[in-house]
């Protein structure tokens, strides 16, 4: 057995793979005109851990995210998922392979009710095929199962009261929650969150942190971009620092905190502040 089952993290097969990185990026380069937006020699993402990707604005974090998730094409380099080459694979196939992402600017589907937003996330829906769609008998049973799963996740994310409201009526923070909840509907092995905390109020932020922290225990690897250093220190197992498209350091949160180069180049006197705001001032 070589396949990894996210549902049984303690199986023998998983233990063999546990030390192997779930995602690797080797020699990944992306340029926009003369700008070398991303130039990553080697990055390995550890399985079932939470990896934070930090760096000043314009460091290439989101571009790198887009490359990993197939939303943008690399100029050169190789990206693998569980050892298989996924360079250039379109996003919808990556989602089927268990890799899902959220967006910096939330993409709640405004004119669909929350529950429909959630149900959209489920993969392999029979009713999504044209001819089956005409015959409700072929998909209503699966639809009920999907709905039950969606309701369970909504409950976990404290969004049950918004279930039948249009997603467009949600607050910015609720949309962040919805987007993460919807991503979990694909039952992913790798969850990539682009600034999950941006615009979330402190009360909601704490519950969102707890939800993210719980993901590795379910056999899901988390990679997230974040500007708030307190959040990074609190939840990440590993921190990768990017600047000007390159990875300038990586290590445990404690190591990064002590790393002279990172502190000088990036954290500086601004430690503990919201770095996106630092950049603006």
């Amino acid at each position: 057995m070589t396949a990894v089952s996210p549902a049984t993290p303690n199986s023998a097969a998983t233990l063999n793979l546990a030390d192997k990185p779930v995602i690797t990026a080797t020699g990944v380069v992306k340029t926009f005109g003369g700008l070398r937006a991303v130039d990553v020699e080697r990055l390995e993402i550890r399985r079932d851990k939470i990896t934070a990707l930090i760096g000043p604005n314009g460091a290439g974090k989101t571009t790198f995210f887009n490359l990993l998730t197939g939303f943008d094409e690399v100029d050169s380099g190789v990206i693998t998922l569980d050892g298989a080459d996924i360079t250039g694979t379109p996003p919808h196939r990556l989602a089927a392979k268990g890799m899902v992402r959220t967006f910096q600017l939330t993409k709640a589907l405004a004119k669909l009710p929350t529950i429909e937003n959630m149900k959209l996330g489920a993969l392999d829906q029979r009713g999504e095929k044209f001819w089956s769609a005409l015959l409700p008998g072929t998909w209503t049973k699966q639809e009920r199962e999907i709905e039950a799963r969606a309701d369970a996740i909504l409950k976990r994310f404290n969004l049950t009261h918004m279930r039948d409201e249009f997603a467009g009526t949600m607050s910015g923070g609720q949309r962040k929650l919805l987007e993460m909840a919807r991503a979990l509907m694909t039952d992913p092995r790798v969850v990539m969150l682009d600034e999950p905390m941006a615009g979330v109020n402190p009360a909601l932020a704490q519950s969102l942190l707890e939800l993210i922290k719980a993901l590795p225990g379910e056999g899901r690897t988390v990679i997230f971009i974040e500007h708030n250093m307190d959040v990074v220190q609190e939840i990440s197992d590993w921190v990768v620092v990017m600047a000007e498209g390159r990875i300038i350091a990586e290590g445990t949160p404690a190591e990064i905190k002590r790393n002279k180069a990172v502190v000088d180049a990036y954290l500086g006197a601004h430690h503990g502040e919201d770095l996106s705001k630092v950049q603006l001032s």
Partner: protein, 334 residues
């Protein structure tokens, strides 16, 4: 003024041939724009594909009428593929550019001298639907009246077949849009990247939507040409496309029954305004003739002006259309 006559005309128009044909074409556009967000500005092109699908097959190939009906859908599907393959991977605006250009190209090519042996050029194709009228249960030349509705037998036969097709298409679209397939289309309309990130092959779905709406548009063109019993290239100009858009906006995009209601309102208004203008008392008529140079020739232009003003009022006071919800529309502005 003969109000009885005006009302009889208006009521007959409410469920008349124009209403049926344009509603059917709008059902197709609703699949494109209302549900999937595809800006198709060439629905007249799909109608032309349907009309020539049947006309050319019967007239030029001299094949059986029923083969012609099959070719209506073949042509519609081929046109959707031709338009979709190069544009659906690009940003949304490219589709609108390509569709409006393609529809005009089809019209100009069909009426050109080169194509004359096949499409009949400017004269078009005539008398290809004899088989259809042969099986009519109504006497073709007789008037049938029930209540305020009054139709010629041949039109009644077209209406029965056309409305059956229209209702079936509407029910099919309604069923599809209630399914997960329809949910995916609406998700693409709201945010294509979100749908892609959640594992949907959006290119494939957009192509399916373009084909479905195009086939329905082709069916509308086919029925229209059967009713006219001729295919004229200039019937399929871009005014047709924009009339279909108007009808869809009146009804409210993204609602299954809005094409029928929108089309009915549009055409009854047109017919009501025109017949009222023609029946004005002599004194009023004389005043208008001096004031705005109203004549029998420009009455049809004046009716569009009046209806246009009505549409402006609709856009001001009910921008979401008859069936649309204001609450939903407000979400766009957030």
């Amino acid at each position: 003024m003969d109000w009885g006559f005006i009302l009889e005309r208006t009521f007959s128009a409410m469920i008349g041939v124009e209403v049926m044909v344009y509603a059917l074409a709008a059902v197709g556009l609703n699949v494109h724009f209302g549900y999937t967000g595809l800006m198709n500005f060439g629905q007249a092109g799909f109608m032309a594909a349907g009309a020539y699908g049947i006309g050319v097959t019967v007239y030029w190939l001299q094949w059986n009428f029923w083969w012609g009906v099959v070719f209506v859908f073949v042509y519609g599907a081929v046109l959707a593929l031709l338009l979709g393959v190069p544009t659906l991977r690009l940003r949304a605006d490219y589709l609108s550019l390509v569709t409006i250009a393609a529809a005009e190209s089809i019209r100009l090519l069909a009426r050109s001298r080169v194509m004359r042996p096949i499409t009949g050029g400017v004269e078009g194709v005539n008398k290809f639907a004899v088989t259809f009228y042969d099986i009519s249960p109504f006497e073709l030349g007789r008037f049938y009246g029930f209540g305020p509705f009054k139709y010629l037998g041949r039109d009644l036969w077209v209406l029965v077949v056309g409305w059956t097709a229209l209702i079936l298409a509407t029910l099919m679209v309604q069923q599809l849009m209630r399914s997960p397939w329809g949910r995916t289309l609406r998700a693409i309309r709201e945010d294509e990247d979100a749908a892609r990130a959640l594992g949907k092959n959006t290119y494939y779905y957009k192509m399916q939507a373009l084909m479905l709406g195009g086939l329905i548009g082709a069916a509308a063109g086919c029925i229209q040409s059967i009713q006219k019993h001729s295919v004229q290239a200039d019937t399929f100009n871009s005014v047709i496309t924009f009339t279909i858009w108007t009808i869809l906006i009146i009804g409210g995009p993204g609602r299954a029954w809005s094409p029928i209601v929108g089309s009915s309102i549009y055409w009854s208004l047109i017919v009501f305004v025109e017949n009222t203008l023609r029946q004005l008392p002599a004194g009023v008529r004389a005043n208008l003739e001096t004031a705005i140079e109203l004549s029998d020739f420009n009455i049809s232009m004046l009716r569009y002006i009046v209806v246009g003003a009505g549409l402006m009022l609709l856009a001001r006071f009910r921008p979401q259309g008859i069936f649309g919800s204001r609450e939903e529309m407000a979400l766009d502005r957030r």
